[in-house]
Symmetry: C2
Subunit: 232 residues, 2 copies
Amino acid sequence: MEKTRAVTARNSPDAARDIPEATVARLPVYLRALTTLSDQGTTTCSSEELAVAAGVNSAKLRKDLSYLGSYGTRGVGYDVEYLRYQIAREIGVTQDWPVVIVGIGNLGQALANYSGFRSRGFRVVALLDADPARRAEAVAGLEVRPFADLEQIVHDHGVAIGVIATPAVAAQDVADRMVACGITSILNFAPIVLSVPDLVDVRKVDLSIELQILAYHEQRKMQGAVTEEVTA
Amino acid sequence: MEKTRAVTARNSPDAARDIPEATVARLPVYLRALTTLSDQGTTTCSSEELAVAAGVNSAKLRKDLSYLGSYGTRGVGYDVEYLRYQIAREIGVTQDWPVVIVGIGNLGQALANYSGFRSRGFRVVALLDADPARRAEAVAGLEVRPFADLEQIVHDHGVAIGVIATPAVAAQDVADRMVACGITSILNFAPIVLSVPDLVDVRKVDLSIELQILAYHEQRKMQGAVTEEVTA
DNA sequence: TCCGTTTTGTTCTCCCGTTCACAAACTCCT
DNA sequence: AGGAGTTTGTGAACGGGAGAACAAAACGGA
């Protein structure tokens, strides 16, 4: 394993180079910016233009792209379509990823209806909820099925990614069941720290945490204003 | 300003010490963990216990807390209630923050109904949408008002934080209007990079980016499996 | 009172990520 | 063909955060 990676790391186009995590997190942003440029009819762009569109420093952008390979032309820039495909392939969104959503409350429904998933290579194959009342009507054209169906669905569709949009109290149970079914990537919206095996990836989105971070800075802005008044 | 900060930085309890951004992002997690512990009836906890509950390293937790002050007791640990209050005060969620949500589609409705905002010091004071059809019925007990009312609402309630849940094409316009009204912190759910003045804070939540990051790692897991089979 | 135990607060070191700066490489124009 | 201009890719310096490790401090028991 180690040896294989060492040999293929530099040159092979499909080698699994180890891309820094910070870079991985920005690749989707670049992809989005390139798609926008492409829609506008732009065929070529410089690192500076793309950096502006992605809201980052151009040197950082170039270094990020250099981890994927040399896809630009010096003195010219990058071919928008070509680069877009290369990034999409590196991320893995040239293929379709089946996804299940568990917890069809307000947030779960919003996620089920979100068109941005489908357009970026993700297909919601099932909606699950433990509450029978929630299963009365279809959401986003899909019936809401009992949570017990999870294993069957994961098996049938080869699901590797699960989304948790349940209340906090239910989230750990759901995660455990997901892991038991073979899901290895979880996007967690519940405000709780999930514990999962090392080989399972978890990313969390906590809406109120984001607001709290903003509040902290907002408070400092106000304190600063007061301090200035006092010292003035 | 510089001088004032230098003088008050170390000792004054309400001084605006500069807390590292990485620490700020974790404080809300600690706050959540402490609330959970408190609800369970725990009155005292060690850094190790709290670290486990927050999903971080205990050394990192202690260092984070040390930026706020010395709120623990050596040999004993931390008083849950006391620490909880100190963190809440540092973040600024002991006071109430009025918030406006613009874009009352699926996601906007979910946000409007999210109880986690209210319970953590945020109060949704208005829902705005440019589409008259959306204003037909109330959402989360609030009427949906025209976007033109933004300035009046911001002025009346002293709103400093705005949430954008519109489609991408509308987001920059909304942000510009928010900034013009005096909003200085924006939580952006639209998949686009907003450009705002330096003194305005923007945090973004992009649902599909999170999935793409998971997809990248998922793809690598699979590649790794294949490589192992080949080399075996 | 004194010693062992526990746990915090902090120092030190290492590593990752960011940014600068520049050589290499490509285009275009003469 | 050659030189001027442009832009990429990357080496190197820099800064910040993570984690180990330890000294300082508090508690409890004898």
